[in-house]
Amino acid sequence: MKRSWRLLLSMLAAFALVAAACGGGSDDVSTDTTEAAADGEGEAMEDEAMTDEEMAAMEDEAMDDEAMDDEEMAAMEDEAMDDEAMATGDFNVGLTFDVGGRGDQSFNDSAAAGIDLAESQIGISSSEAEPNADGSNRAELLQLQADNSPLVIAVGFLFENDVKTVAGDNPDTNFAVIDSPMLDFDNGATPFADNIAGLTFAEHEGSFLVGAAAALKSETGKIGFIGGVSGFGLIEKFEAGYIAGAKAVNPDIEITSSYITEFPDFDGFFAPDRANEIASAMYEGGADIIYHAAGGSGGGLFEAAKSVSEASGSKVWAIGVDSDQYNTADDEVKEYILTSMLKRVDVAVFQIIHAQAAGEFAAGNTVYDLSVDGVGYSTTGGFVDDIVDQLEDFKAQIIAGDIVVPTEP
C-alpha cells in the first residue's frame, strides 16, 4: 500500500517537473530560445507545424490571381531584388514576441510568418522568446537575444523603453521595434541611436478601405467596430480610419464602437468570449458588419457572426485584422469573413532582415503604408470582388494625398 503511494507520488512529481520545465507557461524564454542559444541553430522542432501552416497560407496568397496579391508579391520582390539578387546571410535573428506570443492567428503570427520566409529565402536562423505574464522580464530577454544575434526584432510597442536601454549596452547589435517609430520626438525626431530602427504601419489607411467596404456592403446602414484595448492610441487609429472610410461612402451610416478593456488591462486581446458577447449585442442592435482590431479576441466575433446568421436567417459579416483571417480561421466560420485589414508585419520583418543581410540596416522609422502595400485589404473568399474597383479608387486617392485619413476618432 505504502509503496504504491510512493510510486504514484514520484510519478506525479516527475510529471510536474517536466511540465514546469518544458511548458514554462508564459513564464520565461521558451525552450526554443535556450535550445537555439545552446546549439546556435534556432528553429526548434515544435514550430514546424505552425511553419508549414503559415507557409501554406502564404502560398495560397501567392497562388491567388487577385490583383492585390500580385502587387504585394511584386512589391516584396522589388524590394528584395533591388541589388540584383536576394542577399543571403546565415546569422541568427532574435525574434522577441510580446505577451501572448506565437499562435494568436493575427499580429504575432504575422511576424512569425516573416521570420519563416526569411529563413527559407535568406538562410538565417532564428530564436524566439516571449516575456512572462506581467512582462517584467522584457529587458533580460532582449539582452539574452542580443548575446546571440546581430539583429533583434521586438514585436510590440511595449518594448520601446527596454530596447532603448539594451541597445545602449549592445552597440554592435541592431534592434528593430514593430509598432513604434523609435524616434526621439523631443529632439527633432531623430533616431535614439544608430542601431535602433522603428517599423510602423499606417493602420488607419488600411482600416479606411475596409470601412469603405463595410459601408458599401451594409444593407442595414449600421456597422460596428470592436477594439481590443483602448487608451494607448494604437487601436484608436484603426477605429478612426474605419469610421472615416465608412463615412466617405455613406455619410449617414451609423457606427457603434466598443472596446473590450482599457489600458493597462490587456485582457482585451485574449478574450474571445467577451468579443462574442459584444458582437452579438451589436448584431442584434441592427449592425450587419463588424470590424475587429482585437488580436486573439477576434475568434469570438467570427463565432458570433456565425451564430447570429444561423439564428436570424440573414447573413451578417465580420472583418478580420492584421493577417488574412479567411486563411487562418476555422472552416466553419470562414464564410462570414468579408475581408481582412492586412497589416503586413511579415513584410516589415522580412525586409528588415533582408536589409541586415545586405548590410543596409538603417536607423530611424520606416512607415509601411498603402503606397508600399504595407497595409491593405484581402480579397480571399471573393466576397468583395464586386467592389474592388471602388476600393482601388479610394486607395489611389489616399496614396495621391487627395484623401487624408485621420488617426484619431
Binding site: S26, D27, G101, G103, G296, D330
Partner: protein, 413 residues
C-alpha cells in the same frame, strides 16, 4: 413582517423574496433612468451565462471548504478544465466528451491538492498556489504537444470546438411564448419579472441547466444525506468524527476531488459555452471570484448562487451595454442598496456601520449624477467591492467551517 421574522423563514422562501425585491429595484431604476437593458431577456441570458463558471467553481470551493480544505487552487483546476474540455471535444468529436474530460482534468488537480494537503499535511495555501502555477504551465506544455500540431491551433490556442448547445422551454418561452407576451405588454414590474424569467428559459444552454440544478443538489447532499454529514464533520470537528469511526481522510479526499471536478467543469463551460475554443489565460481569475462568491454566500449553496449572479450580472450587462449608460445606472442600484443597509444598521444601533454605508451611498450617488457613462473597470471591480462590503457589514454573521485550513492527523487528539 419584521426583519427577524423574515430571517426565520426557510431558505426557499427567503431567496425568491430577495430576488423579487432585487428585480423591483432594477425595474425602478430602469424607469428612473429610461434604460431598457436592465431586465431585458438578452441581458439576463448574458448575465446567467457569465455567472455559471463562478457558480460551478464556487460550489466546488464549497465542497472543499466544507470538508476542511481551503481550495485556493480553484483557478488552476479551472485552467486544467479548459484545456481538457477542449482536448476531449477535439479528440472524441463531441462536446459531451469534452465536458467529461474537463471534469476529469479538474479532478486530477483536486487529487493532487488532496494528496498534498490531506495526505502530507502541506499548508493548504501553499499547495493551492503551487497548483495555480503548475496548471497554466501544464496546459501550455500540452498545447504545444497537441494543439500546435492541429489545423488552426497553436501553443496558446486550440482549434474551434463545437458548443454544447441548449434548448428553449416550450410554451413558456417559445410557441405560445407566454412569458414573452407578458414582457411585451410593458406593465411596470410585472413585465420586468417576466422578462427576467423568460431570459432564464430562452435558449438555456445544457450546462446552465446543469449548473443551476447543482445548487439544490449540493445543498441536499450536504445537509440531508449521511455522506454530507460525514463530509461536514471533517470540516467542523474532524477529531469528533474520528471518534465516531468516520474515516476523515477518505471524506476529505472525496470532497477535494469533487471540488476539483466541479472547478474543471466550470473551466470546460468557459470553453464549450462562452468562447468555443481554448485560449491561454481565458479563465482570467474567475477561480478567485468563485472564492469571493463562496465567502459572500456564507459557505452555503444558495449563497454561492446569489454571489455568482450578483458578480455575473454587472459583467454581462456591461458587455451588452454598448453605450455604457446601463452600467452607469447600476451605481444608482448600489446607492439604493446601501441606503437600505444604512437604515438597517441604524435600527440595530450600529452607528459606525450606518455612517459608513451612508457615506458610500452618497459617493455612489454622486458618481452616478456626475457621469454619463460608466468606466469599463466598474463591472470588473464589483465582485471585490461587494465582498468587502459584506465583510464590513456582515462579518459577524459569516460562519466558515470551524476546522477549515487546519491540519488534521489521525489520532491527533
Amino acid at each position: 413582517m419584521s426583519f427577524t421574522q423574515f430571517q426565520k423563514l426557510p431558505a426557499y422562501y427567503r431567496w425568491p423574496i430577495l430576488a423579487f425585491v432585487g428585480i423591483v429595484v432594477l425595474a425602478l431604476v430602469q424607469e428612473l433612468t429610461g434604460q431598457g437593458l436592465l431586465t431585458s431577456t438578452t441581458t439576463i441570458q448574458t448575465a446567467l451565462k457569465w455567472a455559471m463558471p463562478i457558480l460551478i467553481a464556487g460550489l466546488g470551493g464549497l465542497l472543499s471548504e466544507r470538508c476542511g480544505v481551503v481550495n485556493i487552487g480553484l483557478e488552476g483546476m479551472m485552467i486544467l478544465g479548459t484545456w481538457f474540455g477542449a482536448w476531449g471535444t477535439l479528440q472524441f468529436g463531441s462536446p459531451w466528451w469534452g465536458l467529461f474530460f474537463g471534469i476529469l482534468g479538474g479532478a486530477m488537480g483536486g487529487l493532487l491538492h488532496a494528496i498534498a494537503t490531506v495526505g502530507f499535511g502541506v499548508d493548504h495555501i501553499v499547495s493551492g498556489v503551487a497548483i495555480n502555477i503548475l496548471a497554466p504551465g501544464t496546459a501550455r506544455y500540452l498545447s504545444d504537444r497537441v494543439f500546435a500540431q492541429m489545423d488552426g491551433g497553436s501553443i496558446s490556442q486550440s482549434p474551434r470546438v463545437e458548443s454544447l448547445g441548449g434548448f428553449t422551454w416550450p410554451v413558456l418561452a417559445k410557441g405560445p411564448d407566454l412569458f414573452g407576451r407578458v414582457e411585451r405588454l410593458d406593465w411596470f414590474i410585472v413585465s420586468d419579472v417576466f422578462g427576467v424569467l423568460r431570459g432564464l428559459l430562452f435558449q438555456m444552454s445544457y450546462l446552465t441547466a446543469i449548473g443551476l440544478a447543482l445548487v439544490p443538489i449540493s445543498a441536499f447532499l450536504l445537509t440531508k444525506t449521511r455522506f454530507g454529514l460525514r463530509l461536514r464533520i471533517a470540516g467542523e470537528n474532524p477529531l469528533a468524527g474520528e471518534s465516531l469511526g468516520i474515516n476523515i481522510y477518505r471524506q476529505k479526499f472525496i470532497g477535494v476531488i469533487i471540488s476539483g471536478g466541479l472547478a474543471g467543469m466550470a473551466g470546460s463551460l468557459i470553453v464549450l459555452d462562452l468562447a468555443q475554443l481554448y485560449r491561454q489565460n481565458q479563465t482570467t481569475g474567475r477561480g478567485f471570484i468563485a472564492l469571493a462568491a463562496l465567502i459572500f454566500g456564507n459557505w452555503k449553496a444558495s449563497g454561492v448562487l446569489a454571489g455568482a449572479v450578483l458578480f455575473g450580472y454587472p459583467f454581462g450587462l456591461s458587455l451588452r451595454d454598448l453605450e455604457g449608460t446601463a452600467t452607469r445606472s447600476l451605481l444608482l442600484v448600489i446607492a439604493i442598496a446601501l441606503v437600505v443597509v444604512m437604515v438597517w444598521a441604524f435600527t440595530k444601533q450600529n452607528i459606525a456601520d450606518g455612517i459608513l454605508a451612508g457615506t458610500v451611498a452618497v459617493g455612489s450617488l454622486l458618481f452616478f449624477l456626475f457621469t454619463n457613462t460608466a468606466p469599463s473597470w466598474l463591472p470588473g471591480t464589483m465582485p471585490y467591492v461587494l465582498v468587502l462590503l459584506v465583510l464590513v457589514f456582515a462579518s459577524q454573521r459569516l460562519r466558515m467551517p470551524a476546522a477549515v485550513g487546519l491540519p488534521y492527523r489521525k489520532g491527533g487528539s
